[in-house]
Symmetry: C2
Subunit: 191 residues, 2 copies
């Protein structure tokens, strides 16, 4: 018998990603999101959800683009910080010791310190209650060589992304390999 916890956003895991934008003054800004995820394969798209009051909000609507920068565990403190303060009040890049490079594909900054970055062109917007969902088409993914496996794919154990747990309010690291997708379930086929 399961216990009712009420209506809430208690799904796990969620990401901890940094959304990069340029504000109206051309200043690079970055905010943390946990509400979002990959939403389409073809074209490849990612959704990020932002409240209208955030400094990032008018930046995305004006520039029609953003980056999704995936921090490693060693950037947990910086990731947490840029989710708590407003780019309207402070230069988050400067305080957090982050540096920006302008994307050549979209009008948004890449966070150099994040080893994996998605460059996204705004293609859809959905309003619902307290948040707006921005869907970005992923025009390119760029990675530091340091997080690539010998065959060129992104190695999660090198990337070491943060995992956020709503309800618990903590960041976690990635654990051990459990199994291969489209693989470990095959033994149930034909049963």
């Amino acid at each position: 018998m399961k216990k009712s916890l009420g209506a809430g956003t208690l799904a796990q895991p969620t990401p901890a990603w940094l959304v990069g934008t340029y504000d109206a003054d051309g200043k690079p800004n970055v905010m943390t999101i946990a509400w979002g995820g990959i939403c389409f394969s073809a074209p490849p798209c990612v959704a990020v959800c932002v409240r209208p009051g955030r400094h990032t909000f008018p930046a995305i609507t004006a520039r029609r683009g953003f980056t999704v920068n995936i921090p490693s565990q060693n950037l947990a403190r910086e990731t947490d910080y840029v989710g708590m303060v407003s780019g309207a009040a402070v230069d988050k890049f400067a305080v957090a010791g982050l540096t920006a490079t302008k994307s050549t594909l979209v009008d948004a900054p890449i966070v150099n310190e994040c080893p994996l970055v998605l460059e996204c062109r705004l293609v859809r917007t959905m309003d619902l209650g307290a948040h707006t969902q921005f869907v970005g088409e992923i025009l390119d993914v760029k990675a530091d060589e340091s997080v690539l496996a010998p065959d060129g794919h992104v190695d999660p154990l090198k990337l070491r992304p943060l995992v956020y747990a709503p309800g618990d309010g903590k960041y976690y690291g990635l654990g051990e390999v459990v199994g291969k997708a489209f693989g470990i379930g095959k033994e149930l086929m034909g049963k």
Copy 2:
């Protein structure tokens, strides 16, 4: 200098969740999704992305509801299996050894073996390319007592959710606590 990997769905982490539905014959069905995530706080909503060809697709549009069932690591094989076969051809619950209880809130089955379940009423649909995004308002979250901390919150280290890594194609477990959200970044404030 970052290396271009091309356009693709290479964000990490993504979830491995089981979407529960009843098909046109009233048979409970379940499929795995990695494309999705929490998308709004108020009202609490979760997005799941499904290709129109999937057996789950007409079930969600007809019943206007679904469940998001979060499997623990020990269900990795079952999670993988139900993502590879079609409920049009097989009874996935029976083959995977899963059992269903009808939700009292939405017209969809709860997967009893999953310790955390979100009961969702379909509120929005967004088509884009190969997938359709279904946004469900979370009417209730139900949990097994076994995954709750003494204070009643969901303990991720008891839940042990699967983490899927696109590009790598493997499921991972959750690792150690990295830090407290809205906490570890505070030392950068006022700098």
